[in-house]
Symmetry: D2
Subunit: 348 residues, 4 copies
């Protein structure tokens, strides 16, 4: 069984395991105050062109989202998100469990526009009973989004501008950031993301690490006491160096981007060749998640050899599914999958 | 200035003030354990035909919704609500502040159907990553809804049936219950509501009381330790007798329904006569909230003498607004309003 | 049965009922934005000598404590309180339910000293794992305390000074404030309390009102968006004017203090005469709660005619109990109680 | 600098790294549903003699405590803990942030007795205003405790019995369980712990793993929907197999206990030899945390070469400090430390 159902099916890039082994019996400070965390933070700040930023390492995405958002908001404030946003749909209400409401906006492609955000916030403050509603105070986006789509530099700048004008924070969830920044349609650099958000994170779990997300805080207001928040939300790893070590390896000689580019390229190949076969897509994703629409009959046969995830029913006979590539995907597996699809589609 | 902007602009029915005065210097137990609360509870249970029910008195609606819902749910469970539901829109995230997510369903008229609920719940458990999503465990409806619409007996029974089959609680917010049960389109009785919900409340604040909501719990599972929940959510009034006294008056000789019928009848008059003038409505409400669509120009002139609330923009020149009647509305004020509108519409 | 078990056994001062009646059918704005609330706020600011203060009206004490404290704190911050503090013991964890920890300090008499607070806070920041502990950010005191004791002006000033120096808020719970400020040992004025706290409240429920607590915020940082917090915590009364009306009556011609002085004086009488009979006390309270230590045998007999509350077992044969007086206590009842005790003690 | 300041200064047992490497490029299911997690769960259930238990793997201790406790409690319920309990002191209020109060009991040695718990719970329900207080519903203990002390089998059985009789859950935090079960004073086996608690966890982070805690649930009532809770509290690791792999290695051929015994034995050596030197201890700990009381002057000199943690000031010239050993501690380092202390004490 070959797995394309997610981008966290394998362990980590071998260089990370090597590093873990080489340093295993060293004694270090706990809770992220060791030299490896400091080293990794420096590398990341440099890669972001943000020497004043604060970098923290957390274990997983849900934890990171909850920690960042609840650290930024007061009790009566909420976060604007696309209706498909991970925090709104796939975190078992972790954010609400910490007291904050997701203010969900319907979108076509998982992206929020500057205008949508501006209209939402302006409508809140124009409403005479505004104090009876959750106050919007942060915007949560992900890049790539849950649907694989990405923000153009102009779109991100416009969102940031709208947030600035309205006293809102902009938070970018970069669980799959590598695949976004290395796909061919991308025009953003890491430094743009640092410049046009207040806080964001660089996902390790899905891009070469065993686990780990690096939070980059550029807005001073969000830096205060951030470690209390990490601890309270259960994200302060005792052996924090494990996170520092991994990000230090990933940000050595651009490794993070090199391995992400591999995953992104294989997704583009998958997309292009499926398109050539006449397959259409649920959403036009340029990144490592591809959502082809295929006949249920073919999907049943594919399942015998491949694992992928179900996205949505399109009509009585067709469904959208999701195939993920990653840093660990082997090109021969993509080729075999394409071959198989070609055969099945030919017979259909 | 004549107010039609809400149904809580006046104090209370005079019989309540009389009772408060007559009993003012009596000494009673605190926190709802006095004889008046017991008396009122008995009257309500009788009116509901539910001798086994438990009745508790709380001060206001938001508090009541939060107390009931959070008492019923575990941390990872949420409540299904219409997207227009009061808990989702107008309680400043009080429920999320207690840790629970609103699972919002888009509706046309503020009402949830049995099928919508069944589909939502079934889709949750059919999803392979169901544990990554908030578990639906309660359905919240209001009758009348925020849009003034009401449930037919068959609709409520169907909802209750769907909830029974799926292990869900059905909670009915009756902040304006009197106006629903006394409007001419209604086919529900208080005993039906007790029979086809697990818990509901009878609104006093908007129907003749100074304040107060009577929670009626018919499902045993929800009775356990309910008073701890009331206290924790700040709803346990020290001089609890104030609540008992008010509901005891309201449920003496059917007063609650008599005064509600007054409000409902004036709304029907308003609706009928506006319809006769050619006015259309944002939603077809049979109860004490009416949502006519009127030219902005006319609304500006009405504002000089009348207070009403803004609902939604319809097009460049027209808006939907809300007029509320209540137990306290004077018929002559409705007549004058209609007269004024007729004149303004004639000149338009 | 004569009740001395609490200070909320009766309704309200007759002048309040009169005012409710006189204004009953007036139409006003909801949610505390009516003219009566404004009027009452002005009177209170004047009485406090604090023209820049913000005054809000809430329904009850638990709700008020939760609203004020959670509005002031971030998620990882907690509130220092005496171990006997109402928020720590008698609010069913309302504060923790909103996410905040009580940082409890053992006390002899229910009062916190400036030194205790300073030591606690300094120890927190001196601890190398301070980020693993809840950050102290507010001090909660009550005056009178749960044990009836009161703060001297110098003590309050010292506490405030310690808070200022450490970036902490000082919050005073004045549920029984009237009885504290009118007892003969008191040297504080309302204006001192406004001057030496960041926020406090004037209790109405126990001092002449049907219900209601007036929050006075003097620190600008705590004023921002306070109404969102009130709404979220369920404290925004629809007919907010009921609160405004009551406090407007209570702060007309010093009524609040006049009626409180009555309750305080009767407690002093009770204390003095019991002392003369040789009775000792659990704590030396100068206010309306008195905690005599009496033989269980006598308490059993007293129970036949009087209601009081149990405080603590002293030894095998003696217990401390609590007798409360209030604005509504009739002197003849105090006299009869004293007579009865004298007889019982004489026979013992 | 040699570190004795904690038991998480090194990486992991080499066998774990080997296993990670050997399986690195395998594709597995995410979120703990892989074969390695199943295998590890089976081994643990066998080691516990608890075939009906449910085993879940989480990343860290704070997260585990919060997840277990909040899964077990309703909103108005709290958890009894020693005042020194980790949840009460060192988790930045993580539990309160989820809405639950710690009901702290003062102890001499970090242990709760059956009688203390029984008295606390009985006093709660005997109090007439019990609904105004947090309802105790779970008892949290750790073994070893924060002070290194351990429970005797009879003590644990008695606690469990008290909990059974009062409808309370007993939860044992086993962050350092290995060091407790392998010290020479211990008379508990893993199967006793499974038998006399409702839920407990086996700590990996401090006993040979990179990270990870294995929760063992024996009470059926606590099994329901536990994975929703894990996800909501941020503890569901995407590459869950990392946890399964580690515990599978640790529970192969008793490795967990073998390596823990090493740490426990070195602590006993440290304790014995310091005692021989005339050193006294803050608490009589039989496990891997030792709390000698030493002159500040000597501690200053020790700090030049050794890292240890500060516990408490004893008097003007002496402090209690903490030295931890672990699976990773090298005997030669303990010897050198003892040698150094001997010299310093000789000169003192």
């Amino acid at each position: 069984m070959i797995c394309f159902n997610s981008d966290y099916t394998e362990g980590c890039h071998p260089a990370i395991l090597e590093k873990l082994e080489a340093t295993n019996m060293e004694q270090t400070e706990g809770y992220g105050e060791d030299a490896y965390c400091k080293e990794a933070a420096e590398k990341i700040k440099k890669a972001c062109g943000a020497p004043q930023a604060e970098v923290h390492f957390l274990v997983g995405g849900t934890q990171t989202n909850v920690t960042v958002i609840s650290a930024a908001l007061k009790h009566y404030q909420g976060v604007i998100t696309a209706k498909t946003g991970h925090i709104h749909v796939h975190e078992t209400g972790a954010l609400e469990a910490c007291g904050h409401k997701c203010l969900a906006i319907d979108t076509r492609d998982g992206k929020l526009t500057a205008k949508e955000v501006a209209d939402f916030v302006d409508a809140h403050f124009a409403d005479e009973s505004f104090e009876h509603m959750v106050q919007p105070r942060m915007v949560y986006i992900s890049n790539p989004t849950e649907l694989g789509t990405i923000y153009r530099k102009e779109e991100l700048k416009a969102l940031y501008q709208v947030c600035r004008e309205r006293g809102m924070y902009l938070f970018l969830d970069g669980a799959r950031l590598g695949y976004g920044l290395t796909c061919s349609e991308n025009d953003l650099e890491l430094s743009d993301i640092a410049a046009y958000t207040d806080v964001f994170y660089i996902g390790g779990t899905k891009v070469g690490a065993l686990f780990g997300e690096a939070v980059v805080i550029t807005n001073d207001a969000l830096k205060t006491d951030f470690r209390y928040n990490i601890k309270q939300r259960g994200g302060m790893l005792a052996k924090g160096r494990l996170l520092g070590l991994q990000f230090s390896v990933l940000f050595e000689e651009n490794l993070y981007f090199k391995i992400a580019a591999h995953g992104a390229a294989l997704a583009e190949k998958l997309k292009k060749e499926l398109t050539d076969m006449g397959v259409t897509f649920y959403v036009d994703s340029p990144t490592n998640q591809q959502f082809p629409i295929l006949p249920d009959e073919i999907l049943e046969k594919l399942k015998e050899e491949y694992r992928f995830s179900y996205q949505a029913r399109i009509d009585e006979k067709n469904s959208a599914v999701r195939f993920c590539t990653s840093w660990a995907t082997r090109e021969e597996n993509v080729n075999a999958l394409l071959e198989k699809m070609k055969t099945l589609l030919g017979q259909y």
